[in-house]
């Protein structure tokens, strides 16, 4: 775990970064230790989180081994949130299957139900919703301000519509029954807003290192990252009709809002997303696509920067550290940028050299 001095520095630097006052980039480096100790796999952790027979306190204790199996350098910090993307759909009635081997969860299509049959409402006593609360409280009790806490990864509204209806049905619905799609989207947003406010409220009640989210930026004010992967499949007109309004509401609800721009298919909507009022953009190029430092993505970085938004990208290995140089050189600044880097303990020196290069305290 981190020293008090380090925690204070992180809190202070992140606050400066959110306020566009930090004169260096945020660079997080999280390295997997060679000796993983008693840490269990990502899939096993996921399984435990959803297993109601395991007390939340026990899950929190188990995470200690996971936190201790990592080295946190630069702006990295231990954190917890309840996976996985679109969990709100399960709180609203979707069934799910966990693939422990791959560490993934599938929220299943609500087959046999027509669009108008889907009238989701979030109940306070919903078991999964309550599990989210129990986990936050258990992690607060176990770790106090040693870690940052995020709310469960609720998901994007139209992504949940798609997940409930199945991809084909949801896309056809846009033509066949647009009003019902909007009604369902709105019902999900109502549940989202309730869950968001309640979870954030619980995080605020006890001391932790701060708020975080499924993308681990540290904040002393509520922070969450919005998304709509569904938008990759639709054009600008339908984006405006079915997605943009909800994103506007999310950007206004979330004090420190970010948007997850995922893959080439989403780029066509970037201008409208920026208009929504998000505080920052996360760019994911997508596996198989051209790398982060490809010239083809220059326009994205420049648009985000010129709009005065924060920008975050991932560096998934030591080989990808060059992305930091590329974006800094391209934009001519080290400010307003965050790089979340992962690697192995044996590459520690290489990562540390980048921290030194950009004046990031180790």
């Amino acid at each position: 775990m981190l020293t008090n001095e380090k925690k204070e520095q992180l809190v202070s630097d992140y606050e400066a970064w959110w306020n566009h006052e930090l004169k260096r980039p945020i660079i997080q480096v999280t390295l997997a230790k060679n000796d993983q100790g008693k840490a269990v796999s990502r899939g096993q952790l996921l399984d435990m989180v959803y297993d109601y027979s395991i007390p939340a306190q026990e899950v929190a204790k188990c995470y200690r081994d996971t936190f201790e199996s990592q080295i946190y350098l630069g702006d990295a910090f231990p954190h917890f949130y309840m996976r996985s993307t679109g969990i709100l759909g399960a709180m609203l009635g979707q069934t799910y299957t966990i693939d422990v081997e791959r560490g993934t969860i599938w929220f299943e299509e609500m087959k046999g139900k027509e669009l108008e049959d889907l009238q989701p409402k979030l109940a306070e006593d919903n078991q999964l919703y309550q599990r989210g609360i129990d986990l936050i409280k258990a992690f607060q009790e176990e770790f106090k301000d040693d870690i940052a806490l995020g709310i469960p990864n609720l998901g994007g509204m139209m992504d949940i519509v798609e997940s409930m209806r199945g991809a084909n049905n949801s896309l056809m619905d846009l033509y066949d029954d647009p009003d019902e799609v909007k009604r369902l989207n709105n019902d999900i947003y109502t549940a989202y807003e309730m869950a968001y406010k309640n979870y954030m409220d619980i995080i605020s009640q006890e001391k932790s290192m701060g708020y975080t989210g499924w993308t681990p930026l540290l904040s002393q004010k509520p922070y969450f990252i919005s998304q709509c992967d569904f938008c990759c499949m639709i054009g600008p007109d339908q984006f405006e009709e079915f997605v943009a309004g909800t994103l506007d509401k999310e950007a206004s609800l979330i004090e420190r809002s970010f948007y997850h721009l995922d893959g080439p298919g989403a780029v066509k909507h970037l201008d409208r997303i920026i208009e929504s009022g998000f505080g920052g953009i996360q760019w994911i190029n997508g596996a198989g696509s051209k790398p982060i430092d490809d010239e083809g993505w220059t326009d994205i970085y420049q648009k985000v920067h010129n709009a005065g938004l924060l920008l975050q990208v991932y560096c998934y290995s030591k080989e990808e550290l060059r992305f930091i140089d590329h974006i800094v050189n391209l934009l001519g600044t080290t400010e307003g940028l965050a790089f979340i880097c992962n690697g192995q303990e044996e590459d520690k020196e290489i990562f540390e050299s980048y921290l030194e290069k950009y004046n990031v305290p180790k």
Partner: protein
Amino acid sequence: MEKLNEISELLQKGRAKNVAILVQEALDEGIDAKVILSDALLAGMGIVGEKFKKEEVFVPEVLIAARAMNKGVEVLKPYLQDSDSQGKGKAILGTVKGDLHDIGKNLVKIMLEGKGIEVIDLGTDVSAETFIEEAKKNNADIICCSALLTTTMPEMKRVVELVKSENLDVKIMIGGAPVNQDFCDEIGADYYTDDAASAADVAKSILEEAKC
């Protein structure tokens, strides 16, 4: 022919009911079923595919156009039996094991059918063994594998290995967001395309080459 153009236009707008009505009218006027299929339905779907490649239309428009095409084909079916209009070749299609995403696969199916290729859709979460088994059973010309998750891409390699070990005379096409030409070359698959419409173009050329 005006009627055929009209069917094609309506298909592109996804007007399924109108397409079915006009196809019936065309038949009543004595237009050959095969001509209606190729010059109205498949031609219309071809235009949708081209517009999709150029990002002039998007996935929902492709889906509703495909639904309209299928409505038209339903009307034509009794008149097409014993004809060779669906005999352009056979493809096995599926999303690989561990992956439940299906929209990319479904688009490929639409585009292949739009080229008159018979598609056996195995759905999602399909093991390499099932691809091979179905390819043999159906005497397929092509196996098309789709994936959205990087974690499931190795299953495509297994398909290639099994095809080689069984010495099957079948081409393997791969696609999906995390897949690219480098990966295709690395695992020894035959073709990679980065969108569904291009996949259908490649499949068609494979089948035409096989006929030569």
